[in-house]
């Protein structure tokens, strides 16, 4: 039976389960250590939660094709952005259902555009950042369920981080958030999402961060004419800052709430414009990894392609679409 994905701000039951679930995954050892993944620094066990951090980073650093100057990689800056993250969320959702022993659990979303409609001064204190939800900003975050406590090893800790050179390193510290940098004081607004949903086609040549289609607007390399990027998805990462900025951004559980909302926006686009995807398989092999029947870089191999995730209505749906 398909599960329903709900708004974390308005459904406290799903909020509590999400927090409980990610904490359980953070405490669950995967049976591997940091050395198994070539991560430098002190050797330490890798939790199931942190496997997703490693996965996101590795996809980010896998250029498609190798060495391309557009920076297109196996999960970003190209058409596969939406399908790759849909698969990532599906795998996390499966794990949350397992540790919660609840096959009806659906990953919640955070409708950041609702907060973006608030005055700029109110956005950093919106309900999502209060102690009952995700806690606030800080270095380390010191409020809410992901607060860092020096003497409590079970408090939320970042164990794998990226460095400036793009390598993973083994660390042991609290989560970091620095809201609303002066250059980007506001989250995206509802009108920005609605305008993105008008765009058709999904993507276009040269299939990178310079195109004018829906995917590039949603990912956030292209903005509305009177504004400058980052936009939508990218802007949310930049606005939260701290651990949401590097390639290891899944270290902050809000990563999943952001991407669940991104996936919700894509689902609305698919319903509006048809369950279509480009490029097809006649596109150049230099786009391998981004074409409709190419395997998505995931443990599912050929069982997960963009075509196979265009209709996921048998697995989940959203309570409301934007």
């Amino acid at each position: 039976m398909a599960v329903t994905r709900k708004n974390i701000v308005t459904d406290t039951a799903v909020r509590d389960k999400f927090i409980q679930g990610v904490k359980l995954l953070k405490q669950e050892t995967s049976g591997r250590t940091t050395t198994d993944f070539g991560i430098s620094g002190p050797k330490q066990p890798v939790s199931t939660y942190d496997l997703f951090v490693v996965w996101h980073h590795r996809a980010m650093m896998t250029l498609t094709p190798p060495g391309n100057s557009a920076g297109r990689n196996a999960a970003h800056r190209g058409p596969v952005f939406c399908p790759w993250h849909r698969v990532m969320l599906l795998l996390l959702e499966q794990n949350l259902q397992r540790v919660l022993s609840d096959s009806t659990f659906g990953l919640p979303y955070w409708d950041w555009s609702a907060d973006g409609d608030l005055p700029v001064s109110q956005q950093p204190t919106a309900p999502i950042w209060t102690t009952s939800y995700l806690g606030g900003e800080g270095n380390p975050v010191s409020t809410g369920p992901f607060a860092f406590h020096t003497t409590d090893p079970t408090s939320w800790r970042v164990r794998i981080a990226g460095n400036v050179s793009g390598n993973l390193i083994s660390v042991n510290r609290g989560l970091r958030r620095t809201f609303a940098p002066s250059s980007f004081p506001s989250l995206p607004k509802t009108s920005h999402v609605k305008n993105a949903l008008l765009l058709n086609p999904y993507d276009s040549s040269p299939w990178d961060a310079g195109t004018s289609g829906f995917r590039n607007r949603l990912e956030g390399w292209a903005s509305e004419p009177t504004f400058a990027p980052p936009w939508l998805h990218n802007l949310v990462h930049v606005w939260i800052g701290g651990d949401m900025a590097p390639s290891t951004s899944p270290n902050d559980p809000v990563f999943y709430l952001n991407h669940c909302n991104v996936d919700r926006v894509w689902e609305k686009w698919l319903r509006t414009h048809g369950r279509v995807y480009v490029p097809n398989m006649t596109a150049s092999t230099s786009l391998k990894g981004h074409r409709i029947d190419d395997p998505i870089v995931s443990p599912l191999g050929s069982n997960a392609t963009p075509r196979q995730v265009l209709d996921v209505s048998t697995i989940y749906s959203y309570d409301t679409l934007p």
Partner: protein, 130 residues
Amino acid sequence: MDLKKLAKSATPKRLAAYLAGLPDLMQYGHGRKGPSETVRQEEHNGHRIVIRTIYDVQVDGTRVQLPLSVDNKGQVHCHSLPNYEFASAVDMIKTLIDNFPEDFALKKKPVKRSGAHSRHAKLKHRKGRK
């Protein structure tokens, strides 16, 4: 998508094995030592354009290895900070410094002591070692 195959691939054991078996990142253009190099290629009116750009970045006298690229619009992107791109490489480095404080931690300059005090400290140290 097949839900059974999804559930099977989602197990921590399967995901961990998949990640541990991924090839080295070197072949994807990352992880090389030395200055960062990016190559733009384009066709125009039957002509083949190749622009090779090398970034040899130093901060506080130390070379910084960066996984970066420049696209055909001239925007600079660093995969270490994946949600940004910049018209200026200088602005990019400034943002990297702000986002990776540990990688750019300022080394404390040695405190310059006065001659007499320095000699006294040295003697005291030697005495202590005996």
